[in-house]
Every structure is written in structure tokens, then in C-alpha cells.
């Protein structure tokens, strides 16, 4: 498995990243959660809905917008992680906030 490229950011950056391909995964903690739709820097990410997606991070501060879907729309919850060696949880996901914008600084 690859080394992690995302880490918690500061200021206006939700995540700091290296400008490379990053594989993200969402894991349901209450019910099943999927990436329903997403785009990075205004470009739609293909292959959704799915529980994983690849984001081609480029230099600069750009937004990753995500809409999540939940098998339990009332109480669903999950965790966003990066698929990498020793990766830690990046963000909590909730059915009460289906749309998330993650500014990524690379």
C-alpha cells in the first residue's frame, strides 16, 4: 500500500497534500455510506457512487466537493480515510450534513 499523502491542514486548508493521486475511502459507522457525487477543482470524479474514489491532487488550493449517500438517511454516520499505509481518519461524515467541501492545499 502507498504512503499517505493527506494530512490535517491549517487555516483555510482542511487538508494538506502532496500533488499526486490520492485514494479516499468512506467507511460507515452507522449503516453504509458511499461517495454519491464529487468533484475536484470543478471537475467531476468518475466511477461514483462508490465507497472509494481517486482524486488527482494538483498544486495550489483547490476544493474537493462531495455529496454522501447513507443507507440510514436519518442517523447514518461514517469516517473519511485515505487508503494508505498507517492512514488515520481524516474527517467524520454525517447524514445530517450530506454535502461537504474540503479545501486541499498542495
Amino acid at each position: 500500500m502507498a504512503d499517505c499523502k493527506l494530512s490535517p491542514g491549517s487555516g483555510n486548508c482542511r487538508f494538506a497534500a502532496k500533488p499526486e493521486d490520492v485514494t479516499l475511502k468512506v467507511r460507515g459507522t452507522k449503516g453504509t455510506v458511499l461517495f454519491e457525487s464529487a468533484k475536484y477543482d470543478g471537475v467531476p470524479i468518475q466511477g461514483l457512487p462508490s465507497d472509494t474514489m481517486v482524486v488527482s491532487v494538483t498544486a495550489g488550493t483547490k476544493n474537493l466537493d462531495v455529496v454522501y449517500s447513507f443507507s440510514d438517511p436519518d442517523n447514518g454516520a461514517g469516517v473519511l480515510t485515505e487508503v494508505c499505509t498507517g492512514g488515520s481518519d481524516l474527517a467524520l461524515v454525517s447524514a445530517a450534513a450530506v454535502f461537504q467541501r474540503y479545501p486541499i492545499c498542495a
Partner: protein
């Protein structure tokens, strides 16, 4: 030199300790949870972290849009309305002339489906029947999808007028169907002499006997399968969302992504936003015991500061909020589609041509057994709407009692044929009262020739007897289409009029308009 080395070593030690310090726990992204934590948090560092998360609208833009919508009055809805001035059973229920359904099932189309079927199961004469059916939740759901009415999901409190998920769930339990007989004999026009003949001309009074509507049905789901947590349900949910059936949710998700993203671009690029964040954080930290009030005030403050540069702010907010409503409706719709009715009560009013009207009360049990298998059981009693005349020997108000059982196997999607399912069914009808035909002198019955009938005969009836029917049915559906084609072959020991075994074929076509109305 030694001092320098000591200094560098100390710096390295401090930075490594800082690097190894654990990250604080992740915060929930939704503002109700953040507010709840802020109310119960006394540590100032943590209160700052929570306040900074609250003012980050990237995580919960709907908090801001909902608060603005709640300030709008009901008149906005009226204004919008004026500006806009324009595993299921499709097909007739058992015992309505032409039908491919030997056993009734619990599910129906949500909005509308239309089926045209030809064939007879227990009747003697083949019928050509068109059935239109739907459920009552389709109407409010369509209003939400067309952005005419807001949607209130179960755990999302909203003030003002909205269609609640509970209302939709309740209305979904009730469905209707109307069957139309499109056979040529559905409408009869009879002429009777109105006066004495005038030479070779005869004045006549014409009367029409229309039976184009042959049946009306109302259903109520008594018990639903309420599984929303099991692994089986979650697997089925994932399959549904990632397949063609998930298209309405995907479309709503894409729309929400675009509208919420565009709105955030507008808000976060305005200098008033970062100034608002800077001003709001200390106020929230200091608002011990008044967090809800201060947060509500700060959302209104943000709107006031943005409005000068964005006079169309409310219109943009309404667009985003509508996109959220439609998305949440589609999320709930996916879950609802997987909740199969288990027990359903159905009432049919039938008025077939040339036959007395009847009322039927039917109890339907429908259950998935796993691995694509399902079973449906029916029990029904049919009574004559009006008591038959005493001159009909052996007649009574109770016409018959019915029992049916069907096992169906979902074959999935076949390469050439598309979606497919195969079913085997058995049907038993205890005939308490003979089948009665109404005859009008001079008017032939379709498919039936009566010989030697006295001119005074108004009703004819055959010897009654119990009916046993066995059926095999194949339902096919093209890829990515809501059309379904049932083909069935049945064998019965007799029909309602003929005491002879019969092999029959039934065919039909149905179209489920749910997918069209979801677009």
C-alpha cells in the same frame, strides 16, 4: 559551540514531542451536533475549536440556507406556485377479465403505471383490459421534486409548511387502480321502438350500456417490512444505489453538488464572510447558556452582510435548499423502495359487462425469502353488490371464496432478455353462488351464443363448481426500461361457465411511470 549543540538538541526534542502529540478528536460536521457540544463544553480551548468549526460553512452550508428559508413566509410558496402555471404488480387484480396476475402482490407503482393485458384466468371469455394504478404518496413526492413544496426528512426539524417524510410514508401505504375494458363489447348501444312504425321507418330510442370501467381497487398496506439495519438490507441498498435504479438519487446528488458548490463559491469569496467568521467566533465562545440564540443571530448577521453585494441571495438560498430537499427525498425513496409490504388489504369493486356488480375483500401476504425468491398468498371473499334474484337457483349474496399462492424467482438481468422473473402459482375458487350473466333481448353477448333462450329471460346462470387453476408466468423487461412483458400459461379444471378443463395463455405489457416522474 557546546551551547549551540545543546540548543539544537533541545529544539529537536521539542519539535519531536510536538509532532508526536495526538491530534484532537475529529468533530462532527453538522451544526446541530457542534452546537450541542458547544453548549456542554466549558474548556475554552475546546470551545474555540467548536466555534471555529461552526463558522466553517464548508461543512454545513445547509445550516445557513435553512435559517434563511425559515425567515421566509408562506407567501413565498404561493408566489412560487403562481409562477409555475402546468418486485411490483402492474395490471388488473385477480378476477378482472383479462389479467396475467393469478395471485395479487402487495407492491404497486408509486406514481403511475399502465398495463394492457389480454387473456382470461377463471372467466370463460378472453378480455382486453387496461389498468392504471398508482399510490397516493406519488403526488406530494412529485410536488417536492418539482420544487413546489419543501421536504422535511424524519430527523431534520424545519419550520413552516413542508411535506414530511412521515406523511409520505403514510400515503405510500394507500394505492388505487382503475381497470378499463377495451373490448368492442364494453359499450353496447340498444335501440327500442319509441312509437309505432311510420311506413318503412321505425322511430327508436337508443340507450347505452357502458362498462368501459370494469373495476376500481383501493389498497392499504397493513404491515411493512421495516428492516433498515440488517446486513441484508445494507447490501440490497448498496446494490440499488450503484445500479440503474439509483439514477434518480445520482441525479439529485449531482444537482446538489453543483448548486451547493456554486453557492459556497459566492459566499466564501465575499470578504464579508471571513470578517463574519472572525467576529462570530469570540461571540460564540462567550455565549455560555445562550449558544442557540447567538448562533441564530450570527447566521442572520451573515445574511445581512452578504445581501448588499448579492441582492439575489434569497433566490440562491432557495435553489440550494430545494436541491437539499430533493436529495433527501430521493435518499428516503431508495430506502422506502426496499421496504416491502408484508400484509395488504385490498377492496375491489367490479362491474364487468353483462354481469352483476361485485365487491371483493382480499388479504395479501407478500414476503421475500432471500436469494431472489418470494412468496405471495391471497385469501378473498367476493359478494354480489346486490342480492341476486331468488329465481337463480342456488344463488346467495356470497359469490365465492378464493385462495391463491405464488412462488417467484427473480432471475436477475439476462444478457438478451433483460430483467426476468419466473413464477409458479396455484389458485382455488370455492363457488358458493353460480356465475350469472345479464342478457338483453336482441343484444348478443361477446363470445357467447345463447340458443333457444326464452324472450323473457333476463339472466342466465351455469352449474356452479369449484375452480382450480395452475399457472406458470415469465416476466421480461428490457435493459434500463420500466416496461414489463408478462407471458403466462395456465391450466384450469373448469371456468365459471364451462365445466371443462382448459389450457389458456395470457400476455400483457405494463409500463411503470415512476422513473419518468423521478426525472
Amino acid at each position: 559551540m557546546r551551547l549551540h549543540l545543546l540548543f539544537v538538541a533541545a529544539l529537536s526534542l521539542i519539535s519531536s514531542q510536538a509532532y508526536s502529540q495526538p491530534q484532537p478528536p475529529l468533530l462532527p460536521p453538522d451544526c446541530p451536533s457542534l452546537l450541542a457540544r458547544l453548549k456542554s463544553e466549558s474548556n475554552s480551548t475546546e470551545r474555540r475549536r467548536l466555534a471555529e468549526a461552526l463558522v466553517d460553512l464548508n461543512q454545513h452550508v445547509d445550516c445557513f440556507t435553512e435559517s434563511l428559508i425559515e425567515q421566509a413566509s408562506f407567501s413565498r410558496f404561493l408566489k412560487t406556485l403562481e409562477s409555475r402555471r402546468t418486485d411490483k404488480q402492474a395490471g388488473a387484480s385477480t378476477g378482472v377479465g383479462g389479467s396475467t396476475n393469478l395471485v395479487s402482490k402487495g407492491t404497486t407503482a408509486k406514481v403511475l403505471s399502465v398495463a394492457a393485458e389480454y387473456g382470461a384466468l377463471t372467466e370463460t371469455v378472453n378480455k382486453q383490459i387496461v389498468t392504471v394504478q398508482g399510490s397516493f404518496d406519488g403526488i406530494p413526492a412529485a410536488l417536492v421534486r418539482q420544487s413546489l413544496v419543501p421536504y422535511c426528512p424524519a430527523n431534520h426539524q424545519k419550520e413552516g409548511e413542508c411535506v414530511s417524510s412521515r406523511l409520505i410514508e403514510t400515503l405510500k401505504r394507500f394505492s388505487y387502480a382503475v381497470s378499463f375494458d377495451t373490448s368492442p363489447s364494453a359499450q353496447n348501444v340498444t335501440g327500442t321502438p319509441a312509437a309505432a312504425p311510420q311506413g318503412t321507418a321505425q322511430p327508436v330510442t337508443f340507450t347505452a350500456d357502458g362498462h368501459s370501467i370494469t373495476a376500481a381497487t383501493v389498497r392499504a398496506v397493513l404491515v411493512n417490512d421495516r428492516d433498515k439495519v440488517s446486513n441484508t438490507f445494507q447490501q440490497a441498498w448498496k446494490v440499488r444505489v450503484t445500479s440503474a435504479s439509483g439514477a434518480p438519487l445520482k441525479k439529485a446528488g449531482d444537482d446538489l453538488l453543483a448548486k451547493a458548490g456554486n453557492f459556497l463559491d459566492v459566499v466564501t469569496s465575499d470578504p464579508a464572510y471571513s470578517k463574519w467568521q472572525h467576529d462570530a467566533v469570540p461571540l460564540l465562545i462567550a455565549a455560555t447558556g445562550r449558544e442557540d440564540t447567538v448562533w441564530g443571530d450570527q447566521l442572520r448577521t451573515l445574511a445581512d452582510r452578504l445581501r448588499p453585494n448579492h441582492p439575489d441571495l434569497f433566490d440562491k438560498v432557495r435553489e440550494v435548499e430545494t436541491a437539499f430537499d430533493v436529495y433527501r427525498l430521493e435518499e428516503d425513496a431508495v430506502v422506502d423502495a426496499l421496504q416491502k409490504p408484508i400484509a395488504t388489504l385490498q377492496y375491489d369493486f367490479k362491474r364487468p359487462p353483462s354481469q352483476p356488480e361485485t365487491d371483493t375483500l382480499r388479504l395479501i401476504f407478500d414476503k421475500g425469502l432471500g436469494s431472489g425468491w418470494s412468496v405471495a398468498l391471497n385469501g378473498a371473499v367476493e359478494i354480489y353488490h346486490h342480492a341476486p334474484p331468488a329465481s337463480v337457483s342456488g344463488s346467495g349474496r356470497v359469490r365465492d371464496a378464493q385462495f391463491g399462492a405464488e412462488f417467484q424467482k427473480d432471475l436477475g438481468t439476462l444478457d438478451v432478455l433483460g430483467a426476468a422473473a419466473i413464477a409458479g402459482a396455484y389458485y382455488y375458487q370455492f363457488q358458493n353462488s353460480p356465475s350469472i350473466l345479464n342478457v338483453t333481448p336482441g343484444t348478443p353477448l361477446e363470445g357467447i351464443t345463447l340458443v333457444g333462450l326464452p324472450s323473457t329471460a333476463m339472466q342466465v346462470f351455469a352449474a356452479k363448481g369449484d375452480i382450480h387453476v395452475a399457472q406458470v408466468r415469465l416476466v421480461l423487461g428490457p435493459h434500463d426500461s420500466s416496461a414489463r412483458f408478462p407471458f403466462a400459461i395456465s391450466y384450469s379444471n373448469r371456468t365459471e361457465l364451462l365445466d371443462k378443463p382448459a389450457w389458456r395463455a395470457q400476455i400483457g405489457v405494463s409500463y411503470d411511470f415512476d422513473s419518468l416522474f423521478a426525472k
